[in-house]
């Protein structure tokens, strides 16, 4: 088969949407909120072209619950929003996790808390990786850092969601959502990871009726405790198999920048600049935030590396890095809050000053 590669300039938001469509997503519900409006508008146009369903829902609450419905009916379904809207979706995400449904949720983060501003931020890391919604559950969290990755990670998200029957979140920021970069993919690409869904509600023809629920009032093997034990087992499986990290020039690095998303790009640039200067600097760029690469970071710590965690927040991921490194003297942090962008010069200065 002749590969027909498409390449065009795209915003991150629209690349995310196209990745979803190419993964076979045929249901999207969303609500306008800056800085992800390009994604909602893109889906309103493209979904119709693909004979899928686009609904501009009455609220982010309604949208996540429409995704619950489409998913329980067996479809690949997605919603998107930005920080305050993702707060509204937390109940729905908890229900989706509890009922073990696949779903993809995109958060194009903006400054908070509250209404905040519409600039890029990473202050929803805790919300995404530590729950956000109630109960003992986890969302798989993917962190793209380029427009291409907005497409690729979203495309992969649907296979992951189906495989594990779990919510998958694409955690990006407003810069990634709105910047334009080249996007390339094969026009003939087909959805991957399509598996049967015997649990989907399609009408009880030729089988026993099914019920979908997260409520577990029973006892013994029907108890909520037992259900949670299974969920924890599932999460351990995901931790064993799905961690993805980019290690950039870490083999001989004495000091390592740890970042994801836009700061990951800035970090890479810092590494290149400092290497030109002869400094042994490396970058750990996380692609999955949950599951988190504790082991990989610990291995680097055991070698004696020092870490500078860079985030667009008051410092959220840094706590997981500290957990991995187990030596607070080796971990420092540089962050900008409320929509500020970390500066290369500041990062370089901090790395040089650390001795």
């Amino acid at each position: 088969m002749r590969r027909s590669k498409i390449k065009y300039l795209s915003t991150g938001n629209e690349a995310c949407g196209e990745g979803a469509l190419r993964a076979g997503c045929r249901f999207y519900a969303g609500y306008p909120i800056t800085p992800q409006n390009e994604l909602t508008a893109y889906m309103s146009r493209r979904m119709e072209e693909e004979n899928g369903t686009f609904i501009q829902a009455e609220s982010e609450l309604a949208a996540i619950n429409m995704v619950f419905g489409a998913s329980v009916a067996g479809a690949r379904a997605m919603t998107s929003s930005s920080s305050p809207g993702i707060s509204l979706k937390q109940e729905g995400i908890s229900y989706i996790a509890g009922a073990e449904l696949p779903a993809v949720i995109v958060n194009i983060m903006r400054g908070g808390p509250g209404l905040g501003n519409i600039a890029a931020s990473q202050s929803d890391y805790f919300q995404a990786t530590k729950g956000g919604g109630h109960g003992d559950y986890r969302s798989i969290v993917l962190a793209p850092a380029t427009v291409q990755e907005m497409f690729d990670f979203t495309y992969d998200a649907f296979s992951l969601a189906d495989k594990y029957r779990n919510p998958v979140m694409i955690l990006a920021d407003g810069m990634l959502g709105q910047m334009m970069e080249p996007l390339a993919f094969d026009d003939n690409i087909k959805p991957s990871g399509i598996i049967p869904k015997p649990w989907a509600l399609t009408g009880a023809e030729g089988r026993e009726p099914l019920s979908a629920k997260s409520l577990r009032l029973g006892s013994g093997k029907n108890s909520l405790e037992r259900h949670n034990e299974w969920l924890q087992e599932k999460y351990k499986n995901i931790e064993r198999s799905e961690i993805k990290t980019e290690l950039y020039k870490t083999d001989d690095a004495a000091k390592i920048i740890v970042a994801y998303g836009s700061p990951g790009r800035i970090g890479r640039s810092c590494v290149d600049t400092m290497r030109d200067d002869g400094d042994a600097i490396g970058l750990v760029r996380l692609k999955t935030l949950w599951p988190f690469p504790y082991a990989e970071i610990r291995k680097l710590a055991e070698r004696g590396c020092e870490f500078l965690v860079v985030e667009m927040s008051a410092g959220q991921m840094v706590e997981d890095v500290r957990l991995a490194v187990q030596d607070d003297n080796k971990v420092s942090f540089y962050g900008r809050m409320g929509g500020g962008i970390p500066e290369e010069e500041v990062i370089i200065k901090k790395l040089k000053n650390r001795g």
Binding site: M66, P209, A212
Partner: protein, 245 residues
Amino acid sequence: MGKTYTRPNSMKDVLTHYCPGCGHGMVHRIICEVIDELDVRETTIAVAPVGCAVLAYDYWNFDTTEAAHGRTPAVATGIKRIHPDKLVFTYQGDGDLAAIGTAETIHAGNRGENISIIFVNNGVYGMTGGQMAPTTILGQITATSPYSRRSEKEGFPLKIMEMMAVLPGVTYLERTMLTSPKEVIKTKKAIKRSFKRQLDKKGFSMVEILSPCPTYWGLSPLESIKRIENEVVATYPVGVIKEDK
């Protein structure tokens, strides 16, 4: 022609947890009779509420999903858009439909989603201990209106069906009650009409059913159905509110 009557096939052979004289048992049974008569058990997907009927999937012999409180019409929207030829209905109480779920109810109707909503109105929040509902009538004492519902402090009973009637996407609305065999049969006819309209792709419909809650009305089952006849129906008159062709 047989005169036999047995439990409908779409109703599982289990005992329910509902209180003696609760309307849920009657509405469940009627829905199951209609589904049997329309022969759509295998192509029905229902959405259960949060409320006393949260366990409805334990009683119904067809595919059923839970939904977060009030989001039931949104979940039903997702299902119906994926399976437009299946019978998709929601089953909701007064909190689910007219409090936390008001936006979802109105917008599903406004979009003209081709679904059926069965609204069981008993004027209280039963599952959580008898608190005031949007449909609690003036003067009614509940766990959170211990001085009775007073319009100046607690507002008025919400007549959501009448509100929905102005939406062009809403094509059939009928209110019924469970107070006598005649009214129960009318309720069944209304539910059947709603389901048939959906199968004929005639758009959004809702049936509101005035239902007894003996436990939280502090009345016997028989006194409860008298109360619907003597008090509730004055605020919530029964009949067809809207029916498009």
